[in-house]
């Protein structure tokens, strides 16, 4: 019994502790990312944004949390009750489950699995179910339309995201997220004779794919300008129309967790993860997690800015962009990358 505890029980306890720590940090971070989103949006429109609760409105998200939790959950009479309540749970569980394999710094990862990037890709392709279930179970027109839009949109953009990931994997030669970051220590910059720096990261050598990944990431997480599933001017709030209080909060939470996931995936695939921008002593003393969070926040800032100043796409334009522009582009880029790697022998 004692050996059973030390072989299985203790590692499991450690893992639960790590997961809890990561979850708490992540949720607090999401609270401030939500605030930042609203603040940036407000600043672009020359408003002040949330500024009443706490200094500069810093506690706004926590006030919102209390509001959501203490409200009465309303379940529509015609709704399919079990699926209606299951949908937010599914979304939130899946959105948080992807974080298990994300390396936040060298060795700072809960589960360093071989197929890390595939795991992230697989779990985020499941996130569409939360939305479809929410839309269908509400048994009402707007949510259903929103769910259908979202399903088609997420499946379409997953294809080009898949090709972009494959191209990066060709350069790296491993599906492990830690390997992907470490392979960016040397790259284009060092080939040109420069010291290790931010020029080695994949964003420069695979720049078109970086752009495609960023835009597809917006579509995949239903962010503006691709927020058709919840387009408030046509569908009120899309698949979330019938939700209120805690279930609504869970849907929102999973949305922002997925957005942060896209930010950290962009950081890992293209921006060198936790590597410092220039390989000098002072920057190397800064812990890797700080670089990771800084880069992720920068990507989030771009996502927030896009929300503020790009008008919403029409649905047929969205589909055209996904299937007729990004899919051929990423496919051609993949072939070019493969040929360059093969002919130059860099891989």
């Amino acid at each position: 019994m004692d050996s059973f505890f030390w072989t299985y029980g203790w590692p499991a306890l450690i893992m639960i502790g790590q997961s809890l720590l990561l979850l708490v940090c992540l949720l607090v971070f999401i609270a401030y990312v939500l605030l930042a989103d609203r603040k940036i949006w407000a600043a672009v429109q020359l408003r002040r944004g949330p500024n009443i609760v706490g200094p500069f409105g810093l506690f706004q998200s926590f006030a919102d949390l209390l509001k959501f939790v203490f409200k009465e959950p309303v379940i529509p009479a015609g709704a399919n009750k079990a699926v209606f309540l299951l949908a937010p749970l599914v979304s939130v569980t899946l959105a948080l489950a992807t974080w298990a394999v994300i390396p936040l710094s060298a060795g700072w990862v809960i589960s360093d699995i071989n197929v890390g990037i595939l795991y992230v890709f697989a779990i985020s392709s499941l996130e569409v179910y939360g939305i479809i279930m929410a839309g269908w179970a509400s048994n009402s027109k707007y949510p259903f339309l929103g769910a259908l839009r979202s399903a088609a949109q997420m499946v379409s953009y997953e294809v080009s995201i898949g090709f972009v990931i494959v191209a990066v994997l060709l350069c790296v030669g491993s599906l492990n997220l830690t390997d992907i970051v470490m392979s960016q220590q040397d790259g284009l910059g060092t080939k040109l004779g420069l010291p290790n720096s931010f020029l080695d990261w994949h964003w420069l050598s695979l720049f078109p794919l970086f752009v495609i990944f960023f835009i597809s990431g917006l579509a995949e997480t239903n962010r503006p300008p691709f927020d058709l599933p919840e387009a408030e001017s046509e569908l009120v709030a899309g698949y979330m129309v019938e939700y209120g209080s805690a279930p609504y909060m869970m849907l929102m939470l999973s949305e922002y967790a997925a957005i942060l996931m896209v930010c950290s995936l962009t950081t890992i695939l293209f921006l060198g993860g936790w590597l410092p921008p220039v390989d000098i002593a002072i920057l190397n003393w800064v812990p890797g997690i700080i670089w990771f969070v800084l880069k992720g926040s920068m990507v989030f800032f771009m996502i927030a800015m896009v929300k503020a100043f790009v008008p919403r796409y029409r649905y047929d334009q969205l589909m055209r962009l996904g299937w007729k522009v990004f899919l051929p582009l990423s496919l051609v880029m993949l072939i070019i990358v493969a040929f360059v790697l093969k002919l130059t022998g860099w891989a």
Binding site: F4, V83, V115, F121, S125, L126, A151, E158
Partner: protein, 204 residues
């Protein structure tokens, strides 16, 4: 080993129970949702055997794409399942036959691996030791290096099937307003705007 067995029975039990729910639940959408649970647990079983690549691909392809389409069809089409269900006994013999064939084949496969446990090593492409080569790389060896031409041919077959499906379903309707983005972008003030001098009190 005990923990692995525990997880095996957990995944297997949930998979079989939800497979039963797929065919017994009244609501077709619930059926598809249970089917997704079956896929998910099968992915778990793959993980237990060390086939992590297959597990992830099962998630991406079957749950991420195929089941979404299922769900789409089931939600969109207004199928009267009570009527479909009424003739279920009529098809029972065919179902039974298919079940028997699949069962017999499963017994053959499992039986042969019990009778000669090293069969996996004597086939043309022996399964490499998982500790030396990850199964992603091993699958890549088989598909893209040793049997690349067969892989290309199967790709061609799929391409032909895809084109066939498009040709069969594509109807190009006339008199429908379409947006031609390149034409729209190529428009200049010269081609789009005409400046007319209108004399007062006359109109155009």
């Amino acid at each position: 080993m005990g923990l692995q067995a525990l997880f095996f029975y957990l995944f297997a039990f949930v998979a079989i129970a939800s497979a039963f729910m797929v065919i017994s639940s009244k609501n077709p959408v619930h059926s598809v949702l249970f089917l997704i649970v079956v896929f998910f647990n099968s992915a778990g079983l793959f993980l237990l055997t060390g086939a992590e690549f297959l597990a992830m691909i099962l998630l991406v392809v079957y749950i991420g794409a195929v089941a979404v389409l299922f769900l789409f069809v089931v939600m969109m089409l207004d199928i009267d399942f009570a009527e479909l269900r009424s003739g279920v006994l009529q098809y029972a013999p065919i179902g039974l036959l298919v079940g028997l064939i699949v069962g017999a084949e499963l017994i053959l496969v499992i039986g042969s691996s019990v009778l000669s446990p090293d069969a996996a090593q004597s086939i043309t492409m022996p399964i490499p030791n998982p500790a030396e080569r990850t199964n992603t790389a091993a699958l890549g060896d088989v598909l893209y290096t040793h049997y690349v031409y067969f892989f290309q041919i199967s790709g061609m077959v799929l391409l032909v099937a895809m084109i066939g499906a498009i040709v069969l379903t594509l109807r190009h309707r006339e008199n429908v307003k379409r947006q031609d983005i390149s034409r729209q972008v190529a428009r200049t003030p010269e081609t789009a705007v005409e400046v007319v001098k209108v004399k007062p009190g006359q109109g155009l």
